[in-house]
């Protein structure tokens, strides 16, 4: 995976990488040449007291150093650019990919893990590329150069190289391969740290209300200890890598001297050759050591690459169609199909959450006529939210079909589909920013008047006017700095600004007092004339005058009609109504 990922995401950087290779080659050649000059300065200059020579060769040496530095700097420039550019592209790719996921994939990975993958994991891969750009070229260059030179010096001692290099490789390989599972665990545990902490931040009030700080601290300490434990174990292996390399390296030198001495004794080798051989051997091993620096980074990067690849290779379960159907009005031609875009129809829809035994919805069929209000009522957990989530394809129905304007939603282009839907989710999540930035969410080019009109309809005008800064009043993440009812109304206004054909209000009036609720519904009817409304509510008062009320129970529609009709025909509906009047009657 690492390799695949690198090949793919380094592709755009290949020019930079070629430049890195060229300049690294140049700078390695220079650094191979410099020792010779150093030696010359000593042997031919210092030894003879020839200051002129020292200055001459010294200047040459400085000149070459300058060249080498120029090359090194350029290589670093291109290397850093390539590595960081790849990191940027990877982050972008993950972000885009996750954007295409349906709720199902987001839940499967978990937001906490997706976050780690988008930053921390990318960082690991990026770091490896950065290191490689600096070492990958020089290391093989130096070691190949070393082997050639060493063999030329004395082919018969070369068996030492043939032994020590594989020993090194095997040693490093053993250590590194042991690190892989540890790092896999490590990234998982970073996920866990992220998750626990993210939860704490979200539930900080509950934690404090129940005085469970200690419990939370303990939970975090568990996650923290887990990461630390894995990091410790991985670190210990890493701690082993360099001493092992150094040992092999040094033992090899000793061996060269020892075995070389016999060859010198029998006259088949010069002392000078021995010393030179030793230098080249060291050069080889040193470059192997440089490679080790990189090698110890590979396991973590590889694990991270796997995790990134997993995200990038996951197809959204809600796929856009190959040949999306286009509504006639949009296409501006006669080829399009469908007329009343707002009309919503479900045909024998069934749905089961992945992994669940029983379906949440089964045999659901109804039509929400364009321009009409369809209400959904039903007990807790009866599948109301699930039902409306099928409309914007947050999930796809497992059987049957959901149709909008006569077209199966799976055949519409998602962007088009979403363009027609205004959703107010049950949990009215606001984004950090300002009131304005939240309202503009559905329609970035909305005018000031449009915003105020939506706010007025949502009964949010008064309090927004009172907020410091009005439309530009800051909103914190999740909308924690406004009251529950205010949050709900802002979420409603956000959907209204969009002016879609289909509105979905998922229990969106639950935090409103009845008076506000009544005013809101009145204004809503005025302001959304022509659009289809789907309203989920618990209060009968919120839905009495809907054109059609669906009574949902255990994932099935057990009643359908107007308030009056249902009072006649539906037992369940009567129960619901009487539960709300029970108190009244008792009074």
């Amino acid at each position: 995976m690492l390799w695949k990922l690198l090949v793919r995401y380094l592709q755009p950087q290949r020019r930079l990488l070629i430049a890195v290779v060229v300049f690294q080659l140049a700078q390695s050649v220079a650094s191979l040449y410099l020792p010779t000059l150093n030696a010359d300065i000593i042997d031919l200059g210092v030894a003879r007291g020839d200051t002129g020579y020292i200055l001459r060769v010294g200047s040459l040496m400085l000149l070459i150093t300058l060249l080498q530095i120029a090359c090194a700097v350029t290589a670093v420039y291109f290397g850093a650019k390539a590595a960081m550019g790849m990191g940027r592209d990877l982050r972008g790719a993950i972000f885009t990919r996750v954007g295409g996921f349906s709720e199902q994939e987001v839940t499967r990975f978990g937001p906490a893990s997706l976050i780690t993958r988008s930053t921390n994991d990318v960082q690991q891969v990026q770091q490896l590329v950065l290191m490689s750009a600096t070492l990958m070229v020089a290391a093989p260059m130096l070691s190949i150069g070393g082997v050639v030179m060493a063999v030329r010096q004395d082919a018969q001692l070369s068996w030492l190289i043939a032994v020590s290099v594989p020993v090194l490789l095997i040693g490093v390989g053993l250590i590194v391969s042991r690190m892989v599972p540890l790092f896999r665990l490590m990234q998982l545990r970073i996920d866990a740290v992220n998750r626990v902490l993210r939860e704490q931040l979200a539930g900080i009030r509950v934690v404090r209300a129940f005085v469970r700080e200690d419990l939370e601290t303990e939970r975090f300490a568990g996650a923290n200890a887990d990461v630390t434990d894995t990091a410790l174990r991985a670190g210990r292996l890493m701690a082993l890598a360099f001493p092992v390399v150094m040992l092999v390296l040094n033992v090899s030198s000793v061996a060269v001297i020892w075995f070389g001495s016999f060859r010198i004794e029998d006259g088949s080798m010069q002392v000078g050759t021995l010393v030179a051989f030793l230098s080249y051997l060291l050069q080889i091993l040193m470059s192997v050591m440089m490679a080790t620096f990189m090698a110890v980074m590979i396991p973590r990067a590889a694990v991270s690459a796997d995790r990134i690849g997993e995200v990038l290779e996951t197809e959204s379960s809600v796929r856009p169609p190959a040949n999306p159907v286009v509504f006639a009005e949009e296409a501006g031609t006669e080829t399009g199909t469908g007329t009343a875009r707002g009309e919503l129809e479900m045909r024998d829809v069934g749905f089961a959450y992945p992994g669940a035994e029983r379906p949440v919805l089964s045999g659901v069929s109804f039509t929400a006529a364009a321009g009409r209000t369809t209400a959904v009522i039903g007990s807790t957990g009866s599948g109301k939210t699930t039902l409306v989530n099928l409309m914007p394809r947050l999930f796809d129905a497992t059987s049957g079909s959901v149709r909008m304007g006569g077209v199966d939603v799976r055949e519409l282009h998602p962007d088009r589909l979403w363009g027609h839907i205004g959703l107010v989710p049950q949990r009215p999540y606001l984004f950090s920013g300002t009131v304005r930035s939240n309202l503009l969410y559905g329609k970035p080019d909305a005018t000031e008047e449009e915003l105020w009109r939506a706010l007025a309809t949502a009964q949010a005008e008064d309090f927004v006017r009172q907020m410091e800064g009005g439309l530009d009043a800051p909103v914190s993440q999740g909308g924690t700095n406004v009251s529950g009812g205010q949050r709900q109304r802002l979420a409603i206004a956000r959907a209204l600004v969009k002016r879609p054909e289909l509105y979905i209000f998922d229990d969106s009036f639950s935090s409103l007092d009845t008076a506000t609720d009544a005013r809101l519904r009145q204004a809503l009817r005025r302001d959304t004339a022509g659009a289809t409304l789907v309203i989920i509510a618990q209060r009968v008062s919120s839905i009495v005058d809907a054109d059609q009320i669906l009574v949902l129970d255990g994932g099935r529609i057990v009643g359908c009609g107007t308030h009056r009709e249902l009072l006649e025909t539906s037992e369940t509906y009567r129960e619901i109504v009487s539960s709300q009047l029970a108190a009244e009657e008792a009074a």
Partner: protein, 668 residues
């Protein structure tokens, strides 16, 4: 290798020659961010407060003092060995050389005779060289001596590796434990921050400090400490040796030090800002990512994917600029220092050559000195390159420290807790506002007698939840006081106060764990039977028993796999289990269907019967039998009384009530 004929010069060479070649750049961790080169836009970032922050980071290592001393000791030994090792190898080479030379000399002749012979034939240089050796003309290499030397070298190397390993092992522990403590302290800090703080942050930004920044700190500490110690010791050791050999040349070599410092400082000054920017942007990007993933469905349905991606691309590009710039500029340190090293090398060679010419120094000494100067500049350069690694780490540390330095909520005076009270809660002239220039609650007073159920009603935004926030001391009062059983709540430790209160919040919150654990959150010591009882009373059991895993069902991310109403029931069960002396229900059943609500009401009234309770609800049916109903409007209590008395009064409450019940009643 032209020096091969001079064992003295090359004896120490194997390790040092290569110094020019082997430069091991250390990774300076992290995704990057932009720089002042090649037309990159320079962001005006807050400069790193390097010195103090670095010291503080070091201070974090204090609990590991003993281990650090061990690391230091091991490093000293390691350095000593790594300096001695090449010496022994050099000695081995000398023995071989001596053997090789001796072999070619006529056997039987003494060393003096040979040297005299050489001088006679005018080969003075050769004579000098031989004079420095121990020769036994005619004999070959002294293998016994060689084996002896090499065995010593072998032992030394084995020990050096062993020590190196122990050092790295110990250091790894030191760093990981330090990092553990950092994370621990951040988490503890979260519990001491006032709630206000959380209204102003992006979660993902804070998360980034714990994961990305702490990770970066760990990597830079790990890599820089051992290097710093080894390099510093090597520099010092070599410096001493150089002064012993030749004070004049040592002074020249010493020039490297200020040059290195100045160069490093110059470059570091530029890269510091970039490192700060790099980690700041990483945090912000993480914040953006977290928020987008959290609101994933909304982003999609509102068709904002493209805009969100656009914003992401901008931030991502900023991060790229900063990290690229930081890496590049800090990557300049190494080459620059290499150049300085070579410059000084030439300087020493020139002066050394003059010294030899004038007879002031022996050739061998100059050679040795030059080898030392290599050993001297290389670790110096390494110290320099570590500077950038450290900068990155310190930039991250600063972000962690700034979080740790945030103002905390007022400290607790561990005064005596009002134990055994029955829960009489009194607000006395309480004033409060979220922002100082927008008064919300002014001069509010109320009394809740023990065992009473107090209902708070009023339009949204009236300040009902705020009132609860104040009881729980989530926020501090601006004026007035709140007493519980006669004791000012500010004189009671918060935990003490809160442990007497139980609440169901308007915003439900469950954590990722089993349903059982989530209910037990109310009272971790509760038995299985008690949990089950709470679950049955609050109708949680009804839907849980339908789940294949029952109470062992794991709730995903904040309970995204149960319905909103089910979530509320779970939080009610949690409060039910807690059995507090003051119970607060803030729209506890707003998402629960009314039939279930009616059933849950029964359980709730049983729970309420013997404790003071506050109930906030928009569905007035749920509060009509309250002992006291407070009607709030715009932060004020505008009416209070019982259901009957308020209806009779025909005020705000009567209006609310009408609005709610008129419609369905008329229809039936």
């Amino acid at each position: 290798m032209s020096t091969s004929s001079r064992p003295r010069g090359t004896g120490a060479a194997p390790g040092t020659r290569q110094a020019d070649v082997v430069r091991i750049p250390r990774p300076a961790g992290g995704p990057g961010r932009g720089g002042p080169f090649a037309g990159m836009n320079v962001p005006a970032e807050k400069a790193l407060n390097f010195g103090p922050s670095a010291l503080r980071l070091l201070g974090e290592l204090r609990p590991e003092r003993a281990w650090l001393v061990l690391v230091l000791a091991l490093a000293v030994v390691s350095v000593a060995f790594s300096v001695t090792g090449p010496r022994l190898l050099g000695e081995g080479t000398n023995l071989i050389f001596a053997g090789a030379v001796s072999k070619n000399l006529p056997a039987g002749a003494s060393q003096e005779q040979v040297i005299a012979g050489l001088r006679a034939s005018g080969q003075d240089a050769q004579a000098d060289m031989l004079g420095a050796m121990t020769l036994t003309p005619g004999a070959g290499i002294d293998f016994a001596a060689l084996a002896n030397v090499l065995l010593w070298a072998l032992a030394l190397y084995v020990l050096a590796s062993a020590f190196g390993w122990i050092q790295a092992y110990v250091l790894n522990g030191v760093v990981q434990r330090t990092v553990y403590r950092l994370r621990e302290r951040i988490e503890a800090k979260i519990h001491r921050l006032p709630l206000r703080y959380f209204d102003s942050i992006q979660r993902g930004e804070l998360l980034s400090r714990v994961t990305n920044d702490v990770d970066n700190i760990s990597q830079s500490l790990q890599q820089s400490i051992s290097q710093a110690v080894t390099s510093l010791l090597t520099v010092l050791g070599v410096l001493v040796m150089m002064f012993l050999l030749s004070p004049v040349l040592a002074l020249i070599a010493l020039v490297t030090v200020p040059l290195t410092l100045v160069t490093t400082a110059l470059i570091a000054k530029r890269s510091q800002k970039l490192f700060v920017a790099q980690w700041k942007h990483t945090g912000e990007l993480n914040g953006q990512i977290e928020e987008t993933y959290t609101g994933h469905a909304l982003v999609k349905v509102f068709g904002r994917q493209r805009e969100v991606e656009e914003r992401f691309r901008e931030k991502n590009a900023e991060l790229f600029e900063a990290s690229f710039g930081a890496q590049f500029i800090s990557g300049l340190i190494m080459p620059a220092l290499t150049f300085i090293g070579n410059l000084v090398y030439v300087g020493i060679a020139v002066v050394g050559g003059l010294q030899v010419a004038s007879g002031a120094m022996q050739l061998g000494d100059v050679q040795a000195f030059i080898q030392y100067s290599r050993q001297f500049t290389q670790p110096l350069a390494q110290l320099g390159s570590m500077a950038n690694l450290l900068q990155s780490g310190v930039a991250s540390a600063e972000r962690v420290f700034s979080l740790l330095d945030e103002d905390e909520q007022s400290v607790e005076d561990a005064g005596p807790a009002p134990v055994g009270g029955r829960g009489r809660l009194v607000f006395e002239n309480v004033s409060f506002s979220y922002s100082p220039d927008k008064p919300l609650i002014t001069d509010l007073s109320l009394v809740a007698e023990p065992g009473q159920t107090v209902a708070i009603v009023g339009p949204t935004g009236a300040g009902k939840t705020t009132l609860v926030n104040l009881m729980m001391r989530f926020y501090e009062l601006d004026a007035g006081r709140i007493t519980l059983d006669g004791v000012d709540v500010t004189s009671v430790p918060r935990r003490e106060l809160r442990s007497r209160m139980g609440m169901v919040l308007q915003d439900t919150w469950l954590f990722g764990g089993t349903i059982r654990d989530n209910i037990a959150y109310g009272r971790p010591s509760a038995s299985e039977a008690e949990i089950l009882e709470a679950a049955q009373a609050t109708y949680v059991d009804r839907f849980v028993s339908a789940l294949p895993e029952g109470y062992d069902t794991v709730l995903e991310d904040e309970g995204s796999n149960v319905s909103a109403g089910e979530k509320q029931l779970l939080t009610i069960a949690r409060a039910f289990l807690a059995r507090p002396s003051v119970l607060i229900l803030d729209e506890a059943t707003s998402s629960v269907d009314t039939r279930t609500e009616l059933l849950v009401q029964k359980a709730m009234s049983a729970l309420r019967s013997d404790r003071t309770s506050f109930v906030i609800a928009h569905r007035l049916s749920t509060i009509r039998d309250a002992d006291l109903i407070l009607v709030m409007e715009a932060g004020q209590i505008v009416e209070q009384g019982t259901h009957a008395s308020l209806l009779a009064a025909g005020g705000a409450y009567a209006l609310l009530y009408e609005a709610q019940f008129a419609a369905p009643a008329a229809e039936v």
